[in-house]
């Protein structure tokens, strides 16, 4: 019995000691000039893990003196919590490629990121990607510097089941809200158990990136919430969007439920707002005669102009805890090279943020084989991200609550909801000062 106790205590102390030992090793290793070790965190998404592994393998072959170790971000509700906690706990990696622009403000405030425009070749690398001006500017931080390198975007489009459309007599995908509703009406009358559309009604803040936010961006013609650091919500468009979803839930076009099994694949819903990452998921899991396609998201009836949408951009950043800035920058440049971008397309079906997607010869083959991605590529020039404002999470949390109360449960009018929303955002901003 006593021996057992001694054994457990020893194991315990060994594990604590091994933590100390690991720190020792890290410091020692990074001081010897022979080999540089970089830690690279990628998203927990399975395709992105595959991509990251392939890229780091290639890099490690080409650079035996700069070895990169890739680790997927621990899966959780959101990686922003994890990164902020890492900055607090001093456990940040050198490079991370799952940076959400909305959280950049917090990371910068915490002093966690390296200024990328410090590097001499930054400007030339950026201009080689031919990113549309206004999109690029949206990634510049309020102090005028770039702390993130634009990497990938996933424009939100309307996904629809081609077969169900044909059966319901829908000839082309809807463009305006009214057209959308009449499509829904036709599908609803088709047969029981098939819903025209669906969105997750749980009040989790990032769910709004797949319903409210893209439609707000398209309804307002490309506006976000802030302009020049000041809150300027397009309240009219916000009301229209709340009303749009309210109608969908009221008329039972969208069910209020949480599907446990994927409803689109099983033909239970006909439409959904989603991004290009869905393609590889659908291809892997679809039944044999399943047909689907994409269209731009609907706009209000009186809207004119290009259709914008939410791009869910994710960028790359170097953490200030790194001991090898130059090497980390070289690795980042590798991650955004044309070869890496091609792999991003091939493996993950996600779009690199570059303006020459459809012109660049290197990608021609890919787009010829993946016609559906062409639509996303064309849309990628007309996307918006989120503003770099503090407390973006809380703001979207507030949107979720209003969305739930107004659109899902019809408990308040759109005007009230938007008014409440603006009030709450002002309170949130004030508390953060």
């Amino acid at each position: 019995m006593k021996n057992f106790i001694v054994l457990i205590l020893t194991l315990f102390f060994i594990s604590c000691a091994s933590d100390v030992d690991k720190n020792f090793k890290k410091r020692f290793e990074n001081e010897t000039p022979k080999r540089v070790h970089l830690k690279y965190w990628c998203s927990a998404n399975p395709q992105e893990i595959e991509l990251a592994k392939k890229l780091t393998e290639k890099w490690n072959e080409l650079h035996p003196d700069i070895q990169v170790e890739v680790q997927p971000l621990p899966a959780g509700q959101s990686s922003e919590e994890i990164l902020l906690a890492a900055i607090a706990g001093g456990t940040t990696p050198d490079v991370c490629s799952n940076i959400w622009p909305g959280a950049i403000a917090e990371y910068v405030k915490a002093g966690g990121l390296v200024r990328l425009d410090e590097f001499e070749d930054f400007d030339s690398v950026i201009s080689a990607r031919k990113i549309p001006r206004d999109l690029l500017e949206s990634f510049r931080s309020s102090d005028g510097h770039f702390y993130q390198f634009p990497w990938k975007t996933n424009p939100i489009l309307l996904l629809y089941n081609v077969k169900i459309f044909k059966e319901a007599g829908v000839e082309k995908p809807p463009v305006t809200y009214s057209e959308f509703f009449s499509v829904c009406e036709k599908i609803k009358n088709l047969k029981i158990g098939v819903y025209p559309g669906y969105t997750d009604t749980r009040p989790i803040w990032w769910q709004r990136f797949f319903d409210f936010y893209p439609l707000y961006i398209s309804a307002s013609g490309g506006k976000t919430f802030f302009k020049n650091g000041e809150l300027k919500i397009d309240t009219i468009s916000a009301e229209k969007v709340f009303n749009f979803f309210k109608t969908c839930f009221e008329r039972n076009y969208f069910p209020i439920t949480n599907f446990q099994v994927d409803p689109f694949l099983t033909g239970k819903i006909a439409m959904r707002f989603t991004g290009p990452w869905t393609i590889s998921y659908l291809e892997r899991n679809k039944p044999s005669d399943f047909e689907y396609s994409f269209a731009p998201i609907p706009v209000p009836d009186d809207y004119r102009g290009e259709v914008y949408t939410y791009g869910d951009p994710k960028n790359i950043a170097i953490f200030s805890s790194t001991k090898h800035k130059k090497e980390a920058w070289e690795f980042v440049k590798f991650l955004i090279s044309e070869e890496a971008d091609l792999l991003l397309l091939e493996i993950c079906n996600q779009l690199p943020i570059r303006g020459d997607l459809l012109e660049n010869q290197k990608f021609e083959n890919y787009f010829n084989r993946n016609q559906k991605m062409k639509m996303f590529a064309r849309q990628s020039a007309f996307t918006r991200g989120v503003d770099e404002a503090p407390e973006m999470k809380e703001i979207f949390d507030a949107i979720s609550h209003e969305f739930e109360a107004c659109s899902v449960y019809g408990a308040k009018s759109e005007r009230e909801a938007v008014r409440n929303l603006v009030k709450r955002i002002k309170v949130i901003l004030e508390w953060s000062k």
């Binding site: 607090a88 009604t201 749980r202 209020i256 508390w431």
Partner: protein
């Protein structure tokens, strides 16, 4: 009288030392620090900012926080009575001369042992609107499906029912032990006097069971105030914040939005409420057992 020996003093201090250290580090320091944190704004990464009473001002204007407390109280007001009634009922049944009593007792106790995470995942499947087991049984019997977790009115009661299912086994065991400690003679005397079953129950069983009842109430209350993982997994606090428990709200403020100072203030306020409730409970429910 025991003579106090010098060496005994030393041994005593030595043996109690580990606890003293633990107390200072994990009880005293956090308590004191929480009093400091209450008056600051902090997100761990950037330095603390002194803001004196602003956290309290924010608290008293925070409708969502008060809603979360009310939600927790709603949960308790359903969970505790339900638990007592069901546990007493089954304990009574088991108290009679039943074969396989140990088997039944062990079976009822099974959900208590299992993690709340398992129970929540399981009940999510029971409560699902379209494909859940309960609604399937209902629609197969020709009844309408019930929006267990989707209706703002029903969501919290549904969680309360699930919590009762999980914990009632423990209270069955406690009540059973309490029932078995009541001397049989009391019942025999009452029968001779012509008392009916109900009279026996209310005049003998309940009063003598009072200590156990108090224990059950206090334990369920303290457990109920910690309600967190079930809404966290099942509903995320919805629909319409009806299942947002106080702990879930505090957790979100601290670890989602990184408002450490504010969350500490909420925790302090909430702990005070718990104190008051438990105190009141003991006062009103506890009776002398003679």
């Amino acid at each position: 009288m025991v003579k106090v020996r010098r060496s005994e003093n030393r041994s005593g201090y030595l043996m109690v030392l580990p606890y003293a250290v633990y107390f200072l580090v994990f009880v005293a320091y956090p308590l004191i620090f929480s009093f400091v944190l209450i008056f600051h704004r902090w997100n761990i990464v950037t330095p603390m900012e002194f803001i004196s009473l602003k956290n309290f001002v924010r608290l008293f204007r925070d409708e969502l926080f008060f809603k979360s407390i009310i939600n927790t109280l709603i949960f308790l007001s359903i969970h505790i009575p339900l638990q007592i009634v069901v546990a007493l009922f089954f304990a009574n049944l088991l108290n009679q001369n039943v074969k396989l009593r140990g088997f039944f007792r062990a079976l009822y106790f099974l959900p208590v042992v299992v993690s709340g995470v398992v129970v929540t995942i399981l009940w999510q499947q029971l409560y699902a609107y379209e494909t859940g087991l309960i609604n399937q049984i209902l629609s197969n019997s020709g009844l309408r499906k019930i929006p267990w977790l989707i209706s703002p009115e029903l969501a919290m009661p549904s969680i309360a029912i699930m919590a009762t299912w999980k914990n009632v086994g423990l209270y069955i065991v406690l009540f059973l032990a309490g029932l078995q400690s009541i001397p049989r003679e009391l019942y025999e005397v009452a029968e001779i006097d012509g008392a009916s079953g109900l009279q026996k129950f209310f005049k003998i069983t309940l009063p003598l069971l009072n200590p156990t009842i108090v224990l059950v109430v206090v334990l369920s209350t303290i457990g109920g105030f910690s309600l967190f993982i079930e809404p966290y997994i099942m509903t995320g606090g919805g629909p319409m914040n009806s299942t947002l428990s106080a702990m879930l709200y505090i957790y979100n403020q601290a670890f989602y939005f990184n408002h450490m100072g504010y969350a500490a203030t909420l925790g302090f306020f909430f702990a005070t409420i718990i104190f008051i409730v438990v105190f009141l409970q003991r006062k009103f429910i506890e009776r002398e057992v003679y």
